[in-house]
Symmetry: C2
Subunit: 216 residues, 2 copies
DNA sequence: GTTGCCAGCATACGAAGGTTTAGGTCCTCC
DNA sequence: GGAGGACCTAAACCTTCGTATGCTGGCAAC
């Protein structure tokens, strides 16, 4: 009795706005608003319902009322972050205050609108949020491809990759690892092949993207 | 106990808070508050006065009242950004509203406090802002050093650096530039020396930091 | 027990990287 | 006009890279 939208749940094709509000009229009005500009909309009455559903595969964003049944929008924001769900959020509120808005923005919200808001303001906020999610998804995809390749490396290969992308010569790597230089060369060749790196420069950039040299 | 007086601009030794408020009492109270925790404070009555002065060399931040003589704090924030002055800002206001706070936070403000605020909230915000500025300064310094080296390169050397860090072999670079391979090697050696790069991996990372391969 | 994968090493060789020495032209600045 | 710098090239020489071939051994899965 929850998913009430113009779109079949989970079948979203285009950019999708996920609306969470306990007011049924508001949900409908927002869904209409977004549909009117070609955005798909999925609606939920509570945070729990949203968590039970699956997120769209397309660029999307959340439109959250601050006051939700059982949990505040701000808490929900933190909860999503903890779950590693990094979808842009546009907040709206009927009776919010400045500390509330500041907290939301600090936590990364795209916008924080007071009801009543102008339709255009909401559309602008959502457009920004969708665009942010699109960018995030694109970069996540390429990073994921890298990570997949990276995980196909053996422990030794990872070690060699680390040293090589740090700038060490094969013979130096061999010294560090207590191996013969020829063995390092073999591993290195495997790394290049598995990571699909066409040059050392490539590999260095991959190592950067994977955060192989940052302290932690 | 220790009654440190307000520091004059330019004398700052430690982290410094730059206060801009048209209320003299407020300025004094804030300066005392910051002094009490070991932070130096510089005060101004208007944005114009601040711009006329020189910014501290130490990690610092702005504490701005939204309502300033002649210009709003938000406009001033935008003005600073346009001038390339990227100092963290903590806003405070007596009668602000949510849109105002959201706009400030979107523009990168560290915090937005409503008067009256608790001293601790202000101190926390300022501590965060100072820390952010410290990080920014540190990274700016290393980037600046890189940029200095980069600007000592000749046009040809820049070109070679671009190709090499893209992953091209010397002979390929030579082909692209219509040069003999040996010439590329010479340029490449000069690049390594001038950029103080100890390995190709180093140079690739420098090129990344300098944004040599991003679209523009 | 055979197959497959990981790890390691040696020899060998061609390709690529890097430096030195030694030229040369062109241009600018004093 | 000469000094200096950017730019280009060559020959020579050494190092490093990368790969192939061949072989050993450990280990887990089928």
């Amino acid at each position: 009795m929850n998913q009430k939208s113009r779109t079949k749940a989970g079948e979203a094709q285009g950019p999708t706005v996920i609306i969470v509000d306990d007011d049924d009229d508001m949900r409908g009005a927002l869904a209409n608003l977004f549909n009117s500009v070609g955005l798909e909309a999925v609606v939920f009455g509570s945070a729990q319902e949203l968590l039970a559903a699956k997120f769209p595969e397309t660029p999307s964003c959340l439109v959250l009322d601050i006051r939700l049944p059982g949990i505040s929008g701000l808490e929900f924001q933190g909860q999503l972050a903890k779950l590693g769900i990094d979808v842009p959020i546009v907040f709206m509120t009927g009776h919010g205050d400045i500390p509330m808005s500041v907290r939301a923005m600090k936590a990364g919200a795209v916008d924080f609108l007071s009801k009543p808001f102008r339709d255009q303001d909401m559309l602008d906020a959502v457009a920004t949020a969708i665009e942010r999610d699109r960018t995030r998804r694109t970069s996540m995809q390429s990073v994921q491809a890298l990570r997949d390749n990276y995980q196909s490396l053996t422990a030794r290969e990872v070690e060699v990759m680390r040293y090589v992308t740090k700038g060490l010569l094969n013979k130096q790597v061999a010294g560090e690892m207590g191996l013969a230089e020829i063995t390092v060369k073999i591993h290195r060749g495997n790394v290049m092949r598995k990571m699909v790196a066409r040059s050392l420069a490539d590999l260095v950039r991959m190592a950067e993207t994977l955060g192989m040299h940052q302290s932690a």
